[in-house]
């Protein structure tokens, strides 16, 4: 079994985000990048499958600041091969990200055949969750998204994928392999790997590089950013002070005044 995990770095929202001059994108110079949370879950799901069934895991990432740290961490956790796609123009779109992945998967020796391709179903800069379905389309593989658990059939020709629906409903799907799965959450939270192991991986593991090819011009984009700006605070919280009966009196007054009673 060969599992390919696609990893993408996303803006780290712990640090402040700045909007670039022009107002259509984040300022890349001010960003810190972090492995997209659901991609981290995709890697964890691959590691769980490896532990259960034995598998070779290849982690394929798109070049970005701090991506090497993410790939060495993946190797320390148990990825057998780590590779990054380099040479893209900065600020590529989600569709372009998917096409860079598809290109590398098709061109680089040993990435195919892959029985399972796992990636995060969404990223904070890909809320539409387009990467996985576009990759699946390009590779002519079935796609299933918002997956929260994967089990392999005994034949290893198919997998059972779990999806969770509102109101406590759980769906189980049988998907023929090879397939692309968009992982929402792994069956367990992403594991901790001791930093000493990551440091050892930095010394012993080689990150392979795949040169991105120029993408064919897709014509005018169907969807484009018009403007990006921060939400402006419309008002502030009003703190009520006093004894409990005074505060409750004030609260009732405010609710009545605003027609909420």
């Amino acid at each position: 079994m060969h599992i390919l995990v696609l990893l993408k770095m996303a803006p780290d929202v712990v640090e402040d985000l700045e909007i670039a001059p022009g107002g259509k994108a984040l300022d890349l110079d001010c960003l810190r990048m972090i492995l997209s949370e659901s991609d981290d879950h995709a890697l964890e799901q691959a590691l769980l499958l490896k532990e259960r069934h034995g598998a070779k895991i290849t982690a394929l990432a798109l070049d970005a600041p701090e991506v090497d740290d993410a790939l060495f961490t993946a190797a320390a956790k148990g990825a057998d091969r780590v590779m990054k796609v380099v040479g893209m123009d900065p600020g590529f779109t989600t569709r372009e990200a998917a096409r860079y992945f598809s290109q590398a998967i098709a061109e680089e020796p040993g990435l195919l055949p892959a029985d399972l391709i796992l990636t995060g179903v969404q990223a904070i800069d890909d809320l539409d969750g387009l990467v996985a379905p576009i990759v699946a389309d390009g590779l002519r593989m079935p796609y299933l998204g918002i997956v929260t658990g994967v089990a392999l059939e005994a034949s290893a020709q198919a997998a059972r994928a779990i999806k969770e629906y509102p109101a406590g409903v759980r769906g189980e799907f049988l998907v023929q392999l090879p397939a692309v799965l968009g992982i929402q959450a792994a069956e367990k939270p992403p594991r901790y790997v001791p930093v000493a192991k990551v440091r050892a991986a930095m010394k012993s593991v080689k990150i392979e590089c795949s040169q991105a090819l120029t993408l064919a011009d897709g014509g005018l984009p169907l969807v484009g950013v018009v403007e990006m700006k921060r939400n402006e605070p419309a008002g502030h919280a009003e703190m009520l002070e006093g004894k409990p009966d005074q505060v409750s009196g004030q609260l009732c007054g405010i609710l009545a005044e605003r027609g909420l009673f």
């Binding site: 712990v14 640090e15 402040d16 939270p189 001791p194 930093v195 000493a196």
Partner: protein, 393 residues
């Protein structure tokens, strides 16, 4: 002994390892350990099992999760075996490797420390944001590279945690009034990492140590003064392997040495009955017992009373060795929180102020006071906060 070169396998070849083999099995360590009564394998048994080649049993238990690195076992050992410094971190490291899952709170703290340089997961680029609220000028080396006598290594809780910042603002005011020639690292500073090593994460500690040493070497200063006893511990005992050879002081003894100058500034009377909690790192590990008491006695109006357990017998707040991020885990196991045990002793003295010198203790003791319903009877204040309050503007 190098922090980086010793493993459990090579330990018996080192003098410290041979020392462990001389353990009398008297059990004083287990009695002194604040969680010795709930550990499946308290320190004495750990040593016995290691000598019998049964250490894997220890690693697969969660005994070492309860070690709060308080140095009590080490301070009391009649053979002087340096358990907290040598054996326990090595055994904790193995426990981490065997644990199927880290407690989530601890995992987040370790990951945050690696990525953002602080366990809270606060933005690394806002580490020095508190400086704007200090009310006195604070020089950052990144903005002004001129040499300074002292590098003030502020540390995490004192940079980010709102009540910890009170300590930093107080320290800045004291340094300013005393005319201390100092600068800080600002946003370049990252956690010194002591809890990384004593938690189980030598790799995290080494990463932080490499980083901080590289930053130190960019600037010129004669001494490092730190607000955090844990950072002091790391700089004193671990960083020298990478060439840390600057003079080193914690803020409390640093100020005590300047008491002559300070006395003239302490003009406001504070009518407080104060009891002082000896932090494990500052007290048992470095024997700074008198400096904080000297400072407190110098404040006009302050009366000092002692808790039953003081100085070398002080009870741990429970925050060391990763305990800061294991409260939920301990609660789930039904353990008593050590900070609550300590606060009961403090309240029993009748004092209205619990004075501390470690940034961990503010949050731990304030929480404990609230949980136990004593928050109206007692306040927690860092020694520097009290000194700054006693200075007229």
């Amino acid at each position: 002994m190098s922090a980086c070169s010793v493993t459990l396998e090579t330990l018996p070849q080192h003098p410290e390892g041979k020392e462990i083999l001389t353990c009398l099995q008297c059990g004083v360590c287990a009695g002194a350990c604040p969680y010795g009564d709930v550990m499946e394998y308290p320190p004495r048994r750990m040593i016995a099992m290691m000598r019998a080649g049964m250490q894997e049993k220890v690693f697969t238990s969660d005994s070492l999760l309860s070690c709060v690195a308080c140095y009590a076992c080490m301070a009391k050992c009649p053979r002087g075996i340096r358990l907290t410094e040598i054996l326990l971190p090595l055994m904790k490291e193995q426990t981490l490797a065997y644990l199927p899952e880290l407690p989530a709170e601890l995992q987040r703290a370790l990951q945050n420390t690696l990525r953002y340089g602080n366990p809270m997961g606060e933005p690394s680029r806002k580490r020095a944001a508190w400086v704007k609220t200090a009310g006195v000028p604070i020089r950052s080396f990144a903005e002004d590279r001129r040499p300074a006598d002292a590098l003030w290594f502020v540390e995490c809780y004192t940079s980010y945690y709102p009540r910890g910042q009170d300590n930093s603002r107080a320290t800045a005011r004291l340094f300013h009034r005393l005319g201390v020639d100092y600068a800080i690292l600002g946003n370049e500073e990252k956690c010194a990492g002591e809890c990384g090593r004593l938690t189980w994460e030598p790799g995290l500690f080494e990463t932080l140590m490499d980083y901080n040493m590289a930053v130190f070497q960019k600037y010129q200063f004669n001494r490092v003064v730190t607000s955090c006893p844990h950072a002091h511990n790391a700089f004193k005992n671990r960083y020298p392997v990478l060439g840390f050879n600057w003079a080193l002081e914690h803020v409390t003894p640093f100020l005590a040495k300047r008491l002559d100058g300070l006395n003239a500034l302490l003009t406001r009377k504070l009518p407080y009955l104060v009891t002082y909690h000896d932090s494990c790192c500052l007290g048992r590990q470095n024997e700074f017992y008198e400096a904080p008491r000297q400072l407190l006695r110098a404040i006009p109006g302050v009366k000092l009373v002692e808790m039953v357990h003081n100085r070398v017998n002080s009870l741990c707040c429970g925050g060391g060795g990763g305990g800061m991020w294991l409260d939920t885990y301990f609660k789930a196991k039904g353990y008593e929180r050590l900070s609550e045990r300590r606060v009961r002793e403090a309240v029993a003295t009748g004092a209205d102020i619990l004075a501390v010198s470690c940034p961990y203790e503010i949050s731990r003791f304030e929480d404990a006071l609230k949980v136990l319903g004593y928050d109206k009877r007692m306040m927690v204040r860092d020694v520097t906060e009290l000194l700054a309050e006693a200075m007229e503007e």
